[in-house]
Symmetry: C2
Subunit: 330 residues, 2 copies
DNA sequence: AATTAATTGTCAAACGTTTGACAATTCCAA
DNA sequence: TTGGAATTGTCAAACGTTTGACAATTAATT
């Protein structure tokens, strides 16, 4: 590995000058600059980023903590984060916290040890006290972490409301919401609230089924089957699209026709779902915008750690029409 | 941020001793060790990983280069890599190369500058000469990169063969393979070969449709529609499961019943597909094993950069039965 | 008590940079 | 030609560790 000194020798200048060229510091003639650049090219030189960061230069690395990336929603999220950060010159360390508090803690410590510039967190493990003490800029997606950590989320309340409206418009009277188990302080609870409010405004009732986020699909399937067969449910709102897919599966196996017997709407609206399951009605979260905003806020905090940010940033959702919520004329 | 010196003061020992405790170097009494550990705990100390790596200690970071993580196959792959590496004390820098050669190059240089311990690459951009010169341990997934970079892949030939057999057994006579555009040197070509061999052994012919990996789903859909409507195709092998989903979509819109009118088998068999689309027949790649092997090889190379490894490692695939390839009795 | 072994301390160099102070050189214009 | 500015060089300290040489202290063994 070529080092600064080697460049200096080749370009016949002093090491200091090379460093000056790299950091554009002090006054330099065009001639030296180009000599140095040429030498850098010739030796395929890359400044040692460790040494630079040690001297206080930022390493340009962001830690990204999510439950995982095999779920298409988080996959798209992380991919978008990576893409946008890349164009700004940042790299990411991927931290899949799963539903493992210890792992999340370990990652948090590691990120600190590695002197990352900031953290974007969207994990599901709450009550990680450590977040309060991390002396690093953090932005959270859709989860409450601590007092002064801004949360960016989509308009969960409006999302729940819209989902309810669509189900009602589609002619459903007996609706059901299937959601992940609720955590206190989680903004996703608002989906439920918005949904409830709307249903109650129409003087109707609804059933609530909670299924743990991390349950196996078989277990989830079983619970869904119960829901669909015990009641005369004719409308279902799933708080994520994958659960919608399971509902489709179970409905089929029960001989229920969608949308004739049962209307269905999901949540998230990833590119994946829109492209490979355009029949699914869903509420789309503006992933691109969410990421843009998170990164914007994070970089602001990185530039000025004391800059004041709001605690909550809410972005609008969009209803995606789909066959599964088509209005049925009886 | 507490540093080594602070620990030394608190534990009332010399900085050297602290370092010795951390690195378990030289002889140390239990008493001092525990004093130091206590101090470390009290100050919540994390050795500065940059400084350590500068001094030659490994940073315990692996670069992971894939096209992206929004695709469930790569998502699961990367998630598995991350999980397994975590338990071995390594972290990962996620590099989504997309189909962007420049980005991949930039990432490669960055990984070198950041002194990562090794690289796992599964990108789709071939002809990146730089791979030859990277002085780092690299393992590749399913792609040829350069002479001495081991490739781990599933048994593509056998996979293609099995897919063909299943289609034939299901009663299809007029089969079609829909694959990503072929790249020279790519092991995935073997899927095609295995398929061809088997079909020809049965004195049948087959059609080949190539669709660029990165085409939009709409374009892909259109091409698939053409294939399904122009020919009297009654069996389709897609070289990935997502394309299978598109075939299901198009078949439905054309009024073709699966499996009655058309049998279908895909490739990859991610957890996602198996759980959310159990009706899809597919050839499962043993992701877990692939990752285990890649990491095993990589860590070997990291320990001993000169250790001899084979150029190719091939792991067996498994046929996953599904409704879409059910035998039809006419 | 004398000898040896184990433990800890002091000191300094090194890893590859950045950056400041200062001096030396070159260049250009009046 | 001289003065001042622009450019480059030398030198050294710093970032937070690791590690070796060596000396000093303490503990264990006879």
């Amino acid at each position: 590995m070529a080092k600064l000194e080697d460049i200096a020798k080749l370009a016949e200048v002093s090491p200091t000058t090379v460093s000056r060229v790299i950091n554009n510091y002090g006054s330099l003639s065009e001639k030296t600059k180009s000599k140095v650049f040429a030498a850098m090219k010739e030796l395929n030189y890359q400044p040692n980023s460790l040494a630079r960061s040690l001297k206080g230069k930022s390493a340009k690395i962001i830690g990204v903590i999510f439950p995982g990336v095999s779920n298409p929603f988080f996959g798209q999220m992380v991919e978008t984060i990576e893409n946008q950060l890349f164009t700004k010159g940042y790299r990411i360390i991927l931290c899949n916290a799963g539903n493992n508090k210890e792992k999340e803690r370990a990652y948090l410590r590691m990120l600190i040890a590695n002197q990352v510039d900031g953290i974007i967190a969207g994990s599901h493990n709450l009550e990680i006290e450590e977040y309060q003490q991390v002396g690093l800029p953090i932005i959270s997606f859709d989860r409450y972490l601590s007092e002064n950590i801004p949360i960016v989320s989509s308009d969960n309340y409006q999302g729940g409301k819209t989902a309810a409206e669509i189900l009602l418009e589609s002619g459903s009277k007996n609706v059901q919401i299937i959601s992940g188990a609720n955590r206190p302080n989680s903004p996703t609870n608002k989906r439920l609230e918005g949904f409830r409010k709307t249903i109650e405004e129409h003087d109707l009732e609804f059933g609530l089924t909670e299924i743990k986020f991390d349950a196996s699909p078989n277990i989830k399937g079983m619970k869904i089957k119960e829901v669909l067969s015990n009641n005369q449910v004719d409308g279902v709102f799933c708080t994520d699209d994958l659960t919608s897919l399971l509902v489709v599966q179970q409905a089929k196996s029960l001989g229920l026709k969608i949308p004739e017997d049962l209307r269905l709407i999901g949540y998230d609206g990833t590119k994946f779902i829109q492209e490979f399951h355009p029949e699914l009605a869903t509420i789309e979260q503006p992933i691109e915008d969410i990421v843009t905003l998170m990164i914007d806020l994070l970089l602001k905090r990185i530039k000025d750690p004391k800059c004041q940010l709001k605690q909550n940033y809410v972005l609008p959702v969009k209803a995606i029409a789909g066959e599964t919520s088509r209005r049925i004329s009886k």
